[in-house]
Amino acid sequence: MADLLPNLNGSPRPGGSSFSSTLSIAGYNAMLAAGLEPLGIVQGVCVMRWNWYGARSPYGGATPSPLSSKRLKHRYLEPTDGFTRNWRRTTSPVYSSKTITNWSCQHSTRRAGAHEPGVNFEQNWVEDLWSEAFAAARTRMIDEARMLGAHGVVGVVDTISDPTRGAKEFLLRGTAVRVNDAPAPLEVWSTYLAGERLVKLVEAGWAPVSVVAAMSSIRIWPACSTESQLSGWWPEVARIAQLESGHYSARFLARERVHAESGADDVHGVRFEVAENRITAGDDEVNCTVWGSRIRRFASPELARAPMATVPLR
């Protein structure tokens, strides 16, 4: 990975001893007041092939048609109780998922051949690819900062975009800084905060640790009763439990992954995004992404200034 980075060796580029930063004037002032010296703009980029889940997909890169989805459905053994049951014993791709819940038909009457079970499953191959790309971009940004002799990276901005068809670009960019007259940290830290907000955080007794992010991806193949409920053929207002479960799982998993990476540290300023993707009729995907700044308490200072209520005159 290091061979992908430009050779900085503490001298960023022909600009000599000048620095670059993405800080605003107010933020720059706040950083100087806190003894932080900006060194340069650093970034980490990772561009992934992102076709239909790429080469890692158990589908082998092919979009499952509704017909093949149905065929896959039939590989499941319909559970008798209609609720959670883990299956890992056939060759069907979804069995490589970490989390699978089966949903049986909830119709009160059955007509032969018209009822199918459904399944919610975690697309851990999508999640793994996403995590690998984000971690690579973050590591490259930190490596650049380390080469500049920085202690941390502030004001991180991240973007995930599709630069071309079948590709996804993960970009993290921030300003590398060094704390004056302080020892180097064990690990170069990073945070989405910058300027006065970072200073307030530290004054309140928290140290920045790292930017963290996690993603979860849940695929929903509805049972016949779920399809009936979604399309209005269910005779009354009813809770669509399979969809609720899929959406809830996506949010829960993403949040728990951020906690798992952060351990006992707090995660501050969380951004929470959910994308719903209808692949074909009756084949939905829910992707949930959580970002935040991991912070660690190092002191419990008394607040120097009690907040006061003000009326801005502008």
Partner: protein, 283 residues
Amino acid sequence: MSDITSLGSPAEAMAAAARFLATPATDGAPPTSNGGASDLSIDAVLLLRAIGWEAVELVTGISWQSIPKGAWILGKGENAAVTSAHQAAIETAERQLVDQCVTAGGHGVVGVRLELKTEKQHVAAEFVGTAIRPIGAARVEGRPFSSDLSARDFVVLSRSGWRPVGFCVGLSFVFVPWRRGAGRGRRFVGNFELDNYTKSLYAAREQAMERLQSTALALGAQGVVGTDISEGQVSFAHHALKFVATGTAVALVADAHVTRELVAVVSLDDLERDFEAESLRGS
């Protein structure tokens, strides 16, 4: 964690943080519990700390409800099926949100955002917010509150002697009847008031506000603050109107309302951020 009670200047605080990050951890035991998580800004976190509260967890709730075919076919008065589907979705999602707050040890949820998606045959309601509690407090007896007030509003409210008791929703979906009555003095040419729409919107509003205030009263509140209202035609059913009111029910816990003295300030924020170069062009 050090026992420092005063970190001094910002530079001294940053130096203390840097020394901490350069020191290997002495306790190698794995953490027994997660840290906190919140979508609050650092200002909001510090404001909460100023009144002795802390953020503990980001909490969510989501619910989907089906709407039977035929529910949108023109009828009279309130559309009971669609209204009850929305109410059920909101109640279920809010219950999940508060359940997560209980699990996390929170005493309440602030900054709740409700996203309501109405489709022809189903409705989805989603809540996101941050669970908070008094610093280090044990689990709350009874049910935590939920509130769409920001952390800043929560601080101002608390300092004024009030507290939020719950997130309230009042909603109603009504049918707009055909205008009939030709030959009975009603106009059908030219511009005139569509009294069927006017009356339907009033009916929806009355029912929704009645529900909002009844919910607040049931929670033991004296009123609802920060009410947001969303009303108008349903995009795919032009003969249907909706009225959705959401807000936070509040109750006075002090003996009397505490009036806060306000300080006038001139903000030094960079106003030029709002400047548009295009505005220099003449019309």
